[in-house]
Symmetry: C2
Subunit: 420 residues, 2 copies
């Protein structure tokens, strides 16, 4: 029985139902006729990002398994695979089920598989022909998985997770990894298929050198496992990287010439739409480290919402809330349009600042300091459409059952269903 995630894999048919009377509408102008707020993906930036990251991975001799939890949008999985991705990374068993239901056959569950109901989901995927890998870091979990999959008459491919002291999951040192590998070796139902890590939880001074050190540790542990003949698969996977330090991981894996014997896999997720917050900041660091990489990723995800009320001088209340957009950081007003206007007729949001976000409302402080600003205030109208950027795309995607793919003229090209 399902706990309520990814339930719509069967319901969201290819006909793109919109819940609107009259049924299917796949075109529309974002500035007139689309119910706002709406989450929007710009196709130009999306296409750029897909190609950029695939090129990056290939240039470093690595495979790309984009983390699908970011978007949980099968149409984006398909674009990632079409661009050359090796598989899709997921965070939970229901996410794996949803991806497989939409045609993704190589699934990297970069997480421990816990609980018999979740094991049952993965068992059914394996029986249906999926190539699933999951992660282990404890004797207890290895025993649970070994027992469960043996009883099902199946073999499960697992990667040992190497963590860091003070980090998240994962074995804390070399010896722990080796002991766990021996145990896996003794479990008939488990196949040790590789080593996994996540550098996003490495913290402290000089994070770059710490991440580099961690990447080298992954290489050394993988080589030790290989040396002792503990990998059962002929081309073991070594995988790491979130969306902030993937360049350092890729560089170490390339320097170690991992690709000659292993399958190095990178797993960034947020790159596909990038962001206007933490990943924009992370990219500044990346481009400073790697001046050879031109331009970088472009933000592709915005949320469009309307001015709902102008109740006091200097205050605009926008029909946009915590239900609509990520709020790890407060959203950033980017541009403004008149309802029914043209995409090219961009109005200013200079000096606008979101000060508070409620469930369904954003408070925006408007510049009111001088006469010029006073004029600007008068010129804003109830109904004006404001494009917002946010930090952390994962937490915007999960607020929508459908996002709108638009072109630069703000014409809706396609609806992107999600299956959270």
């Amino acid at each position: 029985m399902s706990g309520g995630k990814g339930l719509d894999d069967r319901q969201a048919g290819p006909e793109h139902r919109h819940g609107e009377k009259g049924g299917v509408e796949l075109t529309g102008d974002l500035l007139s006729g689309v119910s706002l707020p709406a989450a929007v993906v710009f196709e130009g930036a999306l296409v750029h990002n897909l190609a950029w990251m695939q090129r990056f991975a290939e240039a470093h001799g690595a495979r790309l398994a984009p983390h699908g939890k970011t978007t949980m949008a099968p149409a984006l999985f398909h674009r990632q695979l079409a661009a050359g991705a090796w598989g899709i990374t997921l965070a939970t068993a229901p996410q794996c089920r949803a991806a497989f239901a939409h045609g993704v056959t190589r699934l990297l569950l970069a997480n421990q598989l816990i609980g018999e109901a979740n094991m049952a989901i993965v068992a059914e995927l394996i029986e249906a022909g999926a190539h699933v890998y999951c992660v282990v870091d404890s004797i207890a979990n290895v025993s649970q998985l070994g027992r469960y999959f043996a009883a099902r008459g199946l073999r499960l491919q697992v990667l040992i997770e190497l963590g860091v002291e003070g980090g998240r999951c994962g074995c804390r040192d070399h010896d722990e990894v080796m002991a766990l590998a021996e145990l896996i070796d003794s479990e008939q139902a488990l196949v040790l298929a590789g080593l996994e890590g996540y550098e996003g939880v490495v913290h402290g001074n000089d994070p770059e050198s710490r991440v580099r050190g961690y990447a080298w540790q992954l290489v050394e542990v993988a080589q030790a496992l290989d040396h002792d003949g503990l990998f059962e698969s002929p081309a073991p996977i070594i995988t790491a990287s979130g969306s902030a330090w993937y360049d350092v991981i890729a560089q170490v894996f390339a320097e170690a010439r991992l690709g000659e014997h292993f399958v190095p896999v990178l797993r960034p997720g947020c790159y596909v739409v990038h962001d206007h917050g933490i990943y924009r900041d992370a990219q500044r660091g990346l481009l400073a480290r790697r001046p050879d990489l031109d331009r970088g990723l472009r933000p592709a995800l915005e949320v469009f919402a309307q001015v709902q009320s102008l109740p006091e001088p200097g205050l605009a209340v926008i029909a946009l809330g915590k239900r609509d957009i990520a709020f790890d950081q407060l959203p950033e007003p980017l541009r403004r349009y008149r309802e029914g206007g043209r995409a090219g007729a961009v109005l200013s949001v200079e000096g606008w600042r979101v000060t508070r976000l409620m469930d369904q409302h954003a408070f925006v402080r408007l510049p009111m300091d001088d006469h010029e600003a006073g004029e600007r205030w008068d010129e804003i109208r109830v109904g004006d459409i404001v494009a917002f950027g946010a930090s952390h795309p994962c937490l915007t995607f999960d607020k929508w059952r459908q996002l709108l793919l638009v072109d630069d003229a703000l014409q809706v090209k396609e609806s992107l269903q999600t299956c959270f």
Copy 2:
């Protein structure tokens, strides 16, 4: 065209599809066989809360229009209406559409209706027979609505919003309300049907007396509108109240004997499942103000998740993240069970403290200070199931397409579909 909210009103049929192979399953034991994490509503507490709040409203001579945005769960709307609710309050036009699609016919949109696409949604609901009320606070919006609904040949019932200085939406004073009422009077397509307020944005020292003062201001402005013959409907609505100060609003409305001429409407939303955070705190204040009210509401919403890793002494990583539970405040561990165990066999979480929440993981610090605590640490197992409470139920509901209604024995009775 829809912006992506409430899209599943037509997809979620009465058969409660679960996305599971094999189709419908409406029973199950939460401690074995249910994929976790899962959001859970306890039926006992739910039934108590439904009856408690209905009784409260009736005892104060008020109607109840529970705010549906909290849950967006039609099965809960139906229970609220069956308990005696007058209608359902919603925050957006797509939410109104979703509620109407599930049989709710009296819809109080306690928000400005902005944008032609949203007006079109409401127009279609009116054409289909819905009784819709929305809120206005500006000349600009009144003109937009008047023009739009005149062109559609429809009449829209509006309530003027009275706000507070430094607050959110709403007219800022008596004169502004009266001027707006005159304008509405001149718009053939608009019917002035009442006055609306929201005391949840009243802030400052001595909030109780400020909220009380604001409630009296609502009463006086409504009486002035009535005196000047500006209400078009024979029994104008006066409505206010969120989930924290509804007692003060109800008391003032009762003291003013509003029910003799007006229809007083309360709109709390979170009461239906209460919470383990801000509304628990608010209820302490309420029960101190009103010792005559026995017991109060009970928390009914929890999220069940499993211990995923025990990588270091004193640290448990739980498979529970920002994708699963509200995080205005960090979630609170309530109880623990063994997977496959009985609901009565509750294990301790004494001293457990969530220190960080990532997208799919929670970090829990375990008590390790003494030998006794050390024993406790050894006794925790990977796979143990932990029930968590959270603050702000709206932001837990919107993370799930389905929640599980359970009895005290943790048996699943029903799945509650949501239509965010």
